[in-house]
């Protein structure tokens, strides 16, 4: 019996041992299956549950003015979100969140409940809250309130240069202005970071010792804009536009020698810190009137006509131009002048903005040469300024010109140009005949790199220097005694040209009695430091009455800010009352063009140039040639002349020539050489 019991006990122990071994083998196999065979799959699942890839937004580059004053910066703001599945009580949570965030608690409660029912794990409560709100919510110390930092664009100067800078969309993409055109440079490159998160999606640790992929901030951009001049331009533009009831307007301030833009104002403005409230406002933001909206320049364009005549014909400033007593008929179309002049010297055609005179001069120049000079001044092509939607204006090819096109273009019709193009054209005259490319960006600075100045584009000579200097004198005459008297500055000489063009209503197919009033000028007249172009759309008065005062105020302040020495004694006497401001370039008011049968040749050339009777008996410019500078200065002082000396030695050449009529306020350029 004992032996049998012993065997039974041994058998039981043996079975128990085998059972245990089998269990261990099964466990071991299962472990091997889980940890070896399916390792990759489970590791992937674990990573998906615990590892979060966080995108680190790259800070957007700053935009600064020419003195380094910030115009657009970045700011870090928190956005608050919740995981509705982890909220213990939705109603309490809604009231807790709604207080600091100034939300409707019931509305928020509905959203939380809806998200909870849909088993959503994420719900934005509010994006980009203020630091105070963020601090208030963080102090609640609830783990279901979570924060996501966001870097957002801020424009600390508010509406200043809004059209120029543009704005960004909600996802921080440039939507207009420089923000749009320089998007690639300003945006930078986002970084990425891997973190190990706990069950509440909180960061436990970073898996990489540092940044997995460091964000690369956007480049800083330095503009040529001076924020003080920009502000003055916007302020004066707004005052004038609101007083005149204009729906739009623009001001461009440019340095004529380099093409640097000091101000680029567009009315109406907007606050880029606020999103557009409706579609109309969004469209308004996209229209920078200085570069995107061309218009018929009107009499301002007579500058091009007179310049072309000086360069290509024998017409001189003193040449008398017949003005047909204020009426001329071309190919069946009647053009009326605003005043009935019988004849005017060409200088006065510009000063008094005679339409008939400009047409006669244009006819003398001829279509080919007029077209060539219009192109030389840069019309019909984009300036290349780095702003989106720049218009090249409208200049029809020469082959598409009609018979009356030459006459129309001579006085600024049948052509459209932007304010920027007008400023660039006048800069040609101001800088001595060079066409410059408008420059808006002075430098770029990539993160961690030195400042890189923007390379200069070499200017192109399009006029003879003598022609440009002569035009400066003629344009100064516009300010001294013509339609631009309201543009006279205190302590500075200035030249310019007024312009008034009727606005065509494409719906009613007729010209309205509201105008594109404009003024383009430069100062000081002898050595221009700035060119200012002003345009007001929808004005009820002429350019000399509404745009010239804007020029005066903007130029006055710009010259003061730029520390340009005064070249005239400051006079308290207000001699700016315009004798006349009507420079309206009226083409065929109310009557449609008749059938064009005549040709240009049939009209014949305008009468031959004759000396102006009024100037024949006037004083003439003395001969300075062969005299040293002190003698020239004494002689000029006695004659009431201003001298523009160039070089050193004795006077070898002068312009205008000796014996030319002495116009009021005239300056004589005298070239000295050993």
């Amino acid at each position: 019996m004992d032996g049998q019991a012993e065997r039974l006990r041994t058998t039981r122990l043996f079975l128990l041992a085998w059972g245990g071994l089998l269990w261990a083998i099964v466990i071991l196999l299962r472990l091997v299956h889980l940890q070896v065979v399916r390792h990759a799959e489970y590791a992937q699942q674990a990573r998906a549950q615990h590892i979060r890839n966080i995108e680190l937004p790259a800070p957007r580059g700053a935009i600064l003015d020419r003195a380094g004053r910030p115009l657009a910066l970045r700011r870090r703001l928190d956005s608050v979100y919740v995981d509705p599945r982890h909220i213990p009580d939705s109603r309490k949570a809604a009231y807790l969140l709604a207080g600091p965030l100034k939300l409707d608690p019931e509305d928020l409660y509905q959203k939380l409940e809806s998200a909870r029912r849909q088993r959503r794990g994420f719900l934005w409560v509010q994006r980009r809250i203020s630091p105070e709100q963020s601090e208030s919510l963080r102090s609640l110390r609830h783990n279901w309130i979570r924060f996501q930092p966001e870097i957002v664009r801020q424009y600390p100067k508010g509406t200043l240069a809004a059209h120029l800078l543009g704005a960004v969309s909600f996802d921080q993409q440039g939507s207009s202005g420089l923000e749009y055109s320089l998007e690639r440079e300003l945006r930078g490159r986002n970084g990425r970071l891997k973190i190990l998160a706990d069950v509440f999606d909180r960061e436990v640790t970073r898996l990489d010792p540092g940044w997995a992929e460091q964000p690369e901030p956007g480049a800083n951009i330095g503009l040529s804009i001076d924020e003080r001049i920009q502000f003055a331009a916007e302020r004066e533009l707004q005052i004038a536009a609101e007083a005149e009831g204009c729906w739009a307007g623009s001001v461009v301030v440019m340095k004529p020698d380099t093409g640097e833009l000091l101000a680029l104002a567009s009315f109406p403005g907007f606050d880029p810190n606020q999103p557009p409230r409706n579609r109309q406002e969004a469209e308004l933001r996209a229209h920078n009137h200085a570069v995107s909206v061309p218009f018929e320049p009107g009499s301002v364009f007579k500058v091009v006509t007179i310049t072309a005549a000086l360069e290509t014909t024998n017409l001189r400033p003193e040449t008398v131009i017949p003005c047909g007593n204020g009426r001329i008929t071309l190919y069946g179309r009647t053009v009326r002048d605003h005043h009935s002049y019988a004849a005017l010297p060409m200088a006065d055609v510009l000063a008094h903005s005679s339409n008939i005179g400009a047409i006669q001069v244009g006819l003398k120049v001829g279509e080919d040469r007029m077209y060539e000079y219009v192109r030389r001044f840069g019309f019909g092509s984009r300036t290349g300024v780095p702003l989106p939607a720049e218009s090249k204006g409208r200049l029809r090819e020469l082959a598409a010109w009609q018979k009356t096109s030459l006459a129309s273009i001579a006085m600024g019709h049948e052509i459209s140009a932007t304010t920027l193009q007008l400023a660039r054209a006048v800069a040609v005259i101001a800088n001595g005949g060079l066409l410059v490319k408008p420059k808006l960006i002075l430098w770029r600075q990539r993160p961690g790199a030195a400042i890189q100045p923007e390379p200069d584009q070499p200017p192109v000579r399009v006029l003879r220097a003598e022609t440009a200097n002569l035009m400066r004198r003629l344009m100064e005459g516009v300010v001294l005694r013509g339609t631009g008297r309201a543009a006279r500055l205190d302590g500075y000489s200035a030249g310019g040209k007024t312009g008034t063009a009727q606005i065509y209503d494409p719906v009613a197919h007729k010209y309205l009695h509201v105008y594109n009033a404009s003024f383009v000028g430069f100062a000081p007249a002898v050595s221009p430091a700035i060119v200012v172009a002003v345009t007001l759309r929808g004005a009820r008065h002429y350019g000399g009455a509404v745009a010239a005062p804007v020029f005066r105020k903007v130029a006055q302040e710009a010259l003061r800010l730029m520390n340009v020495p005064k070249d005239l004694p400051e006079s308290p006497a207000d001699d700016r009352t315009p004798v006349e401001t009507n420079d309206l370039a009226v083409a065929d008011l109310g009557s449609p063009p008749e059938e064009e049968t005549a040709t240009v040749a049939e009209l014949g050339d305008p009468p031959a140039a004759q000396p102006a009777p009024g100037y024949a008996s006037a004083a003439v410019i003395p001969d300075f040639q062969g005299k040293p500078l002190p003698a020239v200065l004494r002689q000029a002082l006695a004659a009431g002349l201003q001298i523009e000396p160039v070089g050193s030695g004795v006077a070898r050449a002068q312009f205008p020539e000796p014996g030319a009529p002495l116009l009021p306020g005239a300056r004589v350029r005298v070239v000295f050489a050993p």
Partner: protein, 157 residues
């Protein structure tokens, strides 16, 4: 001092030591165990004892001390870089957080400064303080000279 058991009497001796009692006394308590054991304290004077030196024990002891110190040194050498790097990492992380906070603070301050120095706000202040540009007639150029205009022109060229 030591405590010694001085004697363990036999049961007979114990019985003889106690007075005879009647066997019929059923209520007599039995002896407790070891009740008949007497403890005697004897003072031992070992002041004259001298510990004999054991060089082998001393060597073993010093060996153990040296080994322990060596192990400790090795441990320190092995762990110190890690500990130091961890401390530095914490310090760097703290500095990085501080740097980030300062950068954000500077951004905030730059933003506030830019807003405070905006031309519109400055002009508003100037108006409120009546800091207006002088009228044209209020400016007088000192020492005007006849050649002033020409000199200015020459300087401008």
């Amino acid at each position: 001092m030591a405590t010694l058991v001085t004697g363990v009497p036999s049961s007979e001796a114990a019985a003889a030591a106690w007075p005879e009692v009647e066997a019929s006394d059923a209520f007599r308590l039995p002896l407790l165990p070891w009740e008949d054991v007497y403890l005697h304290v004897k003072r031992i004077d070992n002041r004259r004892l001298v510990r004999a030196g054991d060089p082998a024990a001393w060597r073993m002891c010093w060996r153990a001390i040296r080994g322990a110190l060596l192990a400790l040194g090795l441990l320190v050498v092995i762990l110190t870089p890690g500990v130091l790097s961890r401390i530095e990492a914490h310090r760097l992380a703290g500095l990085a957080r501080q740097h980030q906070a300062l950068v954000e603070k500077r951004s905030e301050l730059e933003l506030e400064e830019a807003a405070a120095l905006s031309p519109a706000r400055l002009e508003q202040w100037a108006r409120s303080l009546e800091l207006l540009d002088p009228a044209p007639g209020q400016i007088h150029t000192l020492n005007p000279s006849p050649a002033h205009g020409a000199a200015v022109h020459a300087r401008l060229r």
